[in-house]
Subunit: 231 residues, 2 copies
Amino acid sequence: MDLNHYREEDKVLLAVDCIIFGFDKHHLRILLIKRNFEPESGKWSLIGGFMKREEDLDQAAVRVLEALTGLRDIYMEQLQAYSKVDRDPGERTISVAYYALIDVDSHQFDGPRLETAQWFKLSEAPDLIFDHNDMVEKAVARLRRRALKRPIGFELLPEKFTMRQLQTLYESILDKKLDKRNFVNKINSLDVLIKLDEKDMTVARKGAYLYTFDKEKYDRKVAEEGFNFKI
Amino acid sequence: MDLNHYREEDKVLLAVDCIIFGFDKHHLRILLIKRNFEPESGKWSLIGGFMKREEDLDQAAVRVLEALTGLRDIYMEQLQAYSKVDRDPGERTISVAYYALIDVDSHQFDGPRLETAQWFKLSEAPDLIFDHNDMVEKAVARLRRRALKRPIGFELLPEKFTMRQLQTLYESILDKKLDKRNFVNKINSLDVLIKLDEKDMTVARKGAYLYTFDKEKYDRKVAEEGFNFKI
DNA sequence: TCAAAAGTGTTCTGTTTACACCCATGG
DNA sequence: CCATGGGTGTAAACAGAACACTTTTGA
């Protein structure tokens, strides 16, 4: 059997596509670009590009994201490979999806790219090319699972945030209303937030306490394989 | 930027590697083959091979598994892609890992392949080539997560099985002893097993009732997004 | 003085855990 | 008749869900 012999003609192009989730204090968003090249020029798609021979997929994802949006040092995680034979009508390509979570407000992308890259509310995102809708759906499912397993927010929230912002983030990820008291009790019982003396006076006349994550405690607890964050 | 232009020299070989879990009524096992080709000839590895241009990854995984073991109609699920630049010392290849669960006893592989393919107890598996150890570790983690989320066993157990066999399966997946009464109560509360009138008289003087999965109920419940199977 | 959002605890219910004895049978 | 593994229930601890009023202060 020639299973184990390289056949030059079986080589394929490997692409990466990035599902970038953002949160802007009110809504969960996703970053898309309008394609200005064929195929499917003019349509919306995920940020993507080809892996080069001298890099691995993780590196390709980081490079492609920066090239198209100027966003730097974004940590991305691999989701899975998409390989249907006819997924890209142009050329046989296999694409590996990556996803990341970032705080919209502290990651402005630079001017010239603004026209092509744009944040959409998750619920209002346009139809995407190829199998990109599937990729997004899968990424959302992963985000939800992850949110239920441990408190996320490090990446999606600014350094300092109010309890309500964290709750709103969870509500938009899980797409359901949560009980304020139960949420606060749950978060506090996890003991990974530091309550600051500072208040955000813009959100209410009374003001709202600001919190930060206690990264050390958080990492320790995640490592100890605990948490289980059911809401 | 040439992000969006195909470069012939960036094409790569895409491989699949299969982590096949089996259960033989006592132990969780994994299927490995001894390589009789370079590189790393003589060492143990996962079952793997290259994707052809005219098929997708899922199809490649099924084909490769059958070619090397004679195992047919095995449902496999994609884990993730492995793409370190130097992962295969021979040629630049990216490998996508797949995993499957099967019942060892009802899936004998055919004679001539017996010498290369072999079931190992998970705890006694040899060191593997390339990044295959990582793949296995990841697959085990996935298997555990899945076992905790819903009752698995359809695939890993024979059609009819005893409660104790199901418990042993869970104990070997989770690698810890479970309480017999709590386990039975939990399983029964899920209401997806059918208790047969038949007993397996080989396991104890008293005999042990045989069960089958109620596939319809099971599928309905999984679809209703419920279950949460904490043990 | 009032509108708007923040902050805060308790009770109830369901789930998980811990735990020990009798049963049926083949040898 | 006894050794072996199968089969069964209950109580205590814990986690999750439901639920309403007071506080602060800027306009």
